[in-house]
Symmetry: C2
Amino acid sequence: MADTTTALRVSAQRLEEFIARAFQVVGISAGESKSIAELMVRADLQGSEGHGVFRLPQYIRRIRGGAVNIKPRIRVVREAAGMALVDGDNGMGHLVMRFATERAIEKAKAAGVAWVGVKWSNHAGPASLYAGMPPEHGMAGLYLAVGNANHLPPWGGLDMLLSTNPIAVAVPAGEEPPIVLDMATTVAAYGKVKTKAQRGEMMPEGWMMDRDGRPLTDPKRANDGFLLPIGGYKGYGLALIFGLLAGTLNGAAMGKDVVDFNADDVTPTNTGHVIVAIDVEAFQPLAEFKRNVDTLIRDIRSSKRLPGVDRIRLPGEGSHAARADRAKNGIPLPAPLAAALGQLAADLHIAPL
Amino acid sequence: MADTTTALRVSAQRLEEFIARAFQVVGISAGESKSIAELMVRADLQGSEGHGVFRLPQYIRRIRGGAVNIKPRIRVVREAAGMALVDGDNGMGHLVMRFATERAIEKAKAAGVAWVGVKWSNHAGPASLYAGMPPEHGMAGLYLAVGNANHLPPWGGLDMLLSTNPIAVAVPAGEEPPIVLDMATTVAAYGKVKTKAQRGEMMPEGWMMDRDGRPLTDPKRANDGFLLPIGGYKGYGLALIFGLLAGTLNGAAMGKDVVDFNADDVTPTNTGHVIVAIDVEAFQPLAEFKRNVDTLIRDIRSSKRLPGVDRIRLPGEGSHAARADRAKNGIPLPAPLAAALGQLAADLHIAPL
């Protein structure tokens, strides 16, 4: 990430306005364009570089290719006290997931816990964007999704039947920042591979393997191999099971039906997600819970350390620090990304960044 | 596992009767003793060797030490449409979790999805026992728990603040056996370390590390080191977050409060669990879901394979095969375990196996 320190920096507001302009010019309403832009910039602010403005040229390409519905009727199609199923009508994933997460939070206020499944959505950015919303309402959030490209075979296999299906869980704390876990079930997410390729960097061993079982470290050769799951067969099991819950159960794509949205600009992905909102007050007083989470965070942070380790981190700490830095100093744009966004502005005939 | 092929085999029924005798003689009612024994034998039948009768001497020791309540009043203490919180009153974990899982299934019939948290429970055997119950009712099951001994430090740390906090998810299939993932968030569960020690075998590198960061392979030296999480900091994150949801949120032990039930026969553990029942029919027709799961299973099983791999497995397949074999041919009892159970029978003055 060395190049981000010398990269051009752009303010969140300028970036958000640019992104909104791009979506508006391809036909999305002003309000929805702003909503998507705000979530994409939130991704960049928290350092989720493979999931923010980096994806904009691709999103626009897919909208122009007819793969994404610019006027979706996002709605609840099935509902019971503890669940809902949302049909995203092939709208931008950010809009669909914001809708679904708001429903989950609203329902959890009455039901204590609410599980909202989503079908006919699209790539929605980093998992933690949505898992992180319930904590603003004194709730824990849990998010699962089917990734939008299969780069993971079953353990021991070669057919690309699984994606990096992520999990994110966010839990509110008191004086400490919330704990926010956001992880792919593969050692690296495919977005990170794409970022490495764009920057001309090599990948460490352990991220990918080729079809003969040898380590693959050149991100430009990514199509010659596949991602490796965390913990071997365990990560394969997690990717499979999260895909069953976020995809198959919702009537969304899973397995062979997953569309590679990196390579295809015309086919709807029918992306599936799950967001669960868990109201802490249904279990115990929120203040008590927050105190206990703070205590746990401090116990962990003050743990004795292995030789050579300078500090112990909590999940979400890196994002929290990135947000503080970037809100103040701007979002770094590596040169290849800045060039791609300049090209996009020219193609769309909109004012550049 | 070579020694199990030559080990003494005992029928499930004989083993269940023996276990029930042991619990009855220490004061648990006949009905509840049978209920615990049935679940423990189910663990042995499915090959969960670290979690079945292997634990009996320890369970009995803790009951005699006063750590476990033999006459618990297990009850729902908080409830809303989509959730319940169960207080296990420090009863045997199997009884508490059977109660909680039945509540979750019952509630999910009305609410579509029901999340049941549990506090003041105890070790309840393998996670898949409970995640596996909702599929018998056309539901998916998700189980989380706080383990009963901290053998995992935060990533980069040395203080034992986390356990192997497991996750299990089970999904019904049609003609295929259900998919059942049951995994610790560490590379190996501590029960497996104990099994290795009892059998006089060494552990593979990667299961444990010593306090200087070196691989630890002798299970008798387990106290000199700690378990390693899957995927490094990712597995640490999963263990932490599952512990927050299953422990902290329910008012159960987490972090420093976790009691090492391997070393302590007198202190209640206040074990926390979560069971979520997800009614498939709330999302789509069950028959359709089962067909789609079958298709996915077959696509995975028929995947092309890496050189040297003879077949692709689905999570739960090993347990399914063990169950078929052991129901017919009996449950293998390695000699050290058979000796321990003989000693237990003598101590309790009950008829031996």
